[in-house]
């Protein structure tokens, strides 16, 4: 490993170009990525992980789409944080998304900062990080890039595509853009469009980043700065939206942090404050501020209906993909009503759809947590689809 010393900013920029413990697919000038913004990105690269083995028929591939601040280290120890993969509860040998049976691919999305081309990557034209010269990207661009990766891997049809939150948006986009390439789709805690409230939250986060003088008009990597405070505040605000009132109360209540009385100051007297500060400061160690701007923007622009004459049902008309939509009762960021709207549109389009709402007080983040009911549903749905697809199902 390179000696990074005390310069994590350099580390971040290196991770963007040469990610550790990752596979990298490189697309040269002959294969540009056509972006919704009307420009082409070229050359570009996609960092990804795979688990399990692709069968001879190449029919057991499962694509995992990560959320806003996730990455491709879905079921392995994260090379930067040292933590276990973000969906290791769900993905592994014998687990609902079974690495013994499926070939699992998880790419880092376009615009991210963990090895797929994004604003922290080096712009080959200038030899410097892209920064704000990086074109604005959309969820559809992310999916288009993933389709190119699958072409590269010579995988025509995915057995399944699964993801939560922004990952769920990609799942829906996959099913809309490439219906014949998706046998089964699992959008979890997702929506067909980003709501005004969610755009508003994102805007607060972006303004927090841009208000930090260290952001330097987006040129912080070039100028050796880092808008830590701004990004940390953005993360703190966003993190609240991933939880719920009940979960915060259960976890922290009004408890004081390492003290029995208030200090009558602006220290982190309350446990919940201390927790949020920790969330903010640990986030900036692994994430690029500009990436945060680009990815939140991509989510804001997401509106499937807009691409199909204002009707989500049109997007899925005649789709033969099997869908399983899942929501959580306490998720107020992507509430059950959003999932229900997906289901209505799928039904109206005649698609085969299952929909389950899981009771939990853990909020939007529930999709990442230990939720046995979610595991049973994912397992049952995939096993059912595998049976139809002619993939082996273990005897239980």
């Amino acid at each position: 490993m390179v000696d990074l010393g005390t310069a994590p900013d350099v580390a971040r920029s290196r991770e963007a170009d040469e990610p550790r413990d990752s596979l990298v697919a490189r697309f040269g000038h002959d294969r540009p990525l056509k972006l919704d913004a009307g420009v082409e990105l070229s050359p570009f690269q996609i960092a990804y992980q795979t688990y399990g083995t692709l069968n001879a028929e190449r029919s057991n591939a499962v694509l995992i789409c990560h959320a806003l601040t996730g990455d491709h280290h879905v079921a392995n120890v994260h090379p930067v944080t040292g933590k276990s993969g973000w969906w290791e509860t769900l993905i592994g040998p014998g687990k609902p998304i079974d690495t013994d049976r499926y070939f699992i691919i998880c790419p880092n999305v376009i615009g991210a900062c963990m090895g797929t081309t994004g604003p922290a990557s080096t712009n080959p034209k200038t030899g410097k990080p892209w920064g704000l010269e990086f074109p604005v990207i959309t969820i559809r661009d992310m999916v288009r890039a993933q389709a190119m990766l699958l072409d590269e891997l010579k995988i025509d049809t995915l057995f399944a595509v699964a993801g939560g939150s922004m990952g769920g948006m990609q799942v829906l986009q996959w099913a809309a853009s490439y219906p014949r390439r998706v046998f089964a789709a699992l959008p979890i805690a997702a929506s067909t469009r980003h709501s005004a409230q969610n755009i508003a939250f994102h805007e607060v986060g972006r303004q927090a980043v841009m208000a930090d003088p260290e952001w330097r008009g987006g040129r912080y990597l070039v100028e050796g700065a880092n808008p830590r405070r701004g990004l940390a505040v953005a993360r703190m605000g966003a993190h609240i939206t991933y939880l719920s009132d009940a979960a915060l109360h259960r976890k922290f209540g009004r408890k004081y942090q390492d003290r029995s009385n208030p200090t009558f100051s602006f220290d982190a007297d309350f446990e919940v404050e201390s927790y949020l500060r920790h969330q903010g400061s640990s986030f900036v160690e692994r994430f690029d501020a500009n990436s945060y701007l680009y990815l939140t923007r991509a989510m804001d622009y997401f509106d499937i209906a807009a691409d199909y004459d204002g009707s989500v049902a049109n997007a899925f008309k005649g789709s033969e993909t099997r869908f399983c939509v899942v929501s959580f009762t306490s998720d107020w960021l992507f509430p059950t009503s959003d999932s229900r709207a997906i289901v209505h549109a799928l039904n109206a389009g005649g698609a085969r759809v299952s929909f389950a709402e899981i009771v939990t007080d853990k909020g939007h983040d529930a999709f990442l947590l230990e939720e046995p009911e979610l595991f049973a549903i994912v397992r049952g749905f995939l096993d059912g689809a595998a049976r139809v697809r002619g993939l082996p199902i273990p005897k239980r």
Binding site: C324, H344, V353, S354, F355, A356, E357, I358, E373, I377
Partner: protein, 219 residues
């Protein structure tokens, strides 16, 4: 709550040697193989399972109770959480060959609207329901002077999910009001045995504990 009606029936209705309920097998018998089927109020998915195994249908379900839905999805069935009274309107015309309402009619708020939607969404509708005209029920109301409770309908009046009971005679009237064509009707006695096909309606209405109707749109 709909699923509870069905589960209770699962426990009380006479099982066949195969372990399946007679009324469900009867419904399965009315469905053509390979058809597209929507089971409204599908409970724990037993009927969808039978239809999948015996008739090779492309089956979907709607179920009100969250537990029922999650159980179904975990079994690999295409089931969504929803309400017969409000969610049928979202389905396009002619989306299914058969729309089934098994032991659920009496728990809907607007049985007529539900039936009309079923006949709009599907070419055929299959409805099974407990017959409130059965002699045991009549005895309890007429002579006992109280709301009836039976093995199939074990709820006290104050906690019953069943708000729209009807008799076989009443249901026939509803089919006429909705303009549905009755293709087949079967009444089952307390032991789950079909009553004589050529028995008069009054006989069915008195001795049938439950009934299954196959309807179609009058075109």
């Amino acid at each position: 709550m709909l699923s509870r009606v069905k589960r209770d029936l699962t426990m009380t209705a006479a099982p066949t040697p195969g372990g399946s309920r007679v009324d469900l097998l009867l419904i399965a018998d009315m469905v053509t193989p390979g058809a597209r089927v929507l089971d409204v109020g599908c409970g724990d998915g037993e009927l969808l399972r039978i239809l999948g195994e015996r008739r090779d249908v492309d089956g979907r379900g709607i179920e009100l109770s969250r537990e029922g839905v999650n159980e179904c999805v975990a079994k690999g069935l295409a089931v969504i959480q929803g309400d017969a009274d409000t969610d049928l309107a979202d389905y396009p015309d002619d989306a299914f060959d058969f729309v089934i309402l098994s032991q659920t009619l009496q728990a809907t708020r607007h049985p007529r609207i539900v039936l009309e939607h079923m006949l709009r969404i599907g070419r055929h509708a299959v409805v099974s329901f407990p017959n409130f005209g059965h002699w045991k029920i009549r005895l309890q109301v007429g002579l006992g002077g109280h709301m009836p409770t039976t093995d199939n309908l074990p709820y006290a009046w104050w906690d019953s999910p069943n708000i729209h009971f009807c008799t076989i005679k009443d249901f026939r009237q509803l089919t006429m009001v909705t303009g549905a064509k009755m293709e087949r009707a079967v009444a089952l006695n307390a032991w789950g045995t079909p009553l004589r096909f050529n028995a008069p309606w009054w006989f069915w209405n008195l001795f049938g504990e439950q009934a299954v109707f196959l309807l179609s749109r009058r075109s």
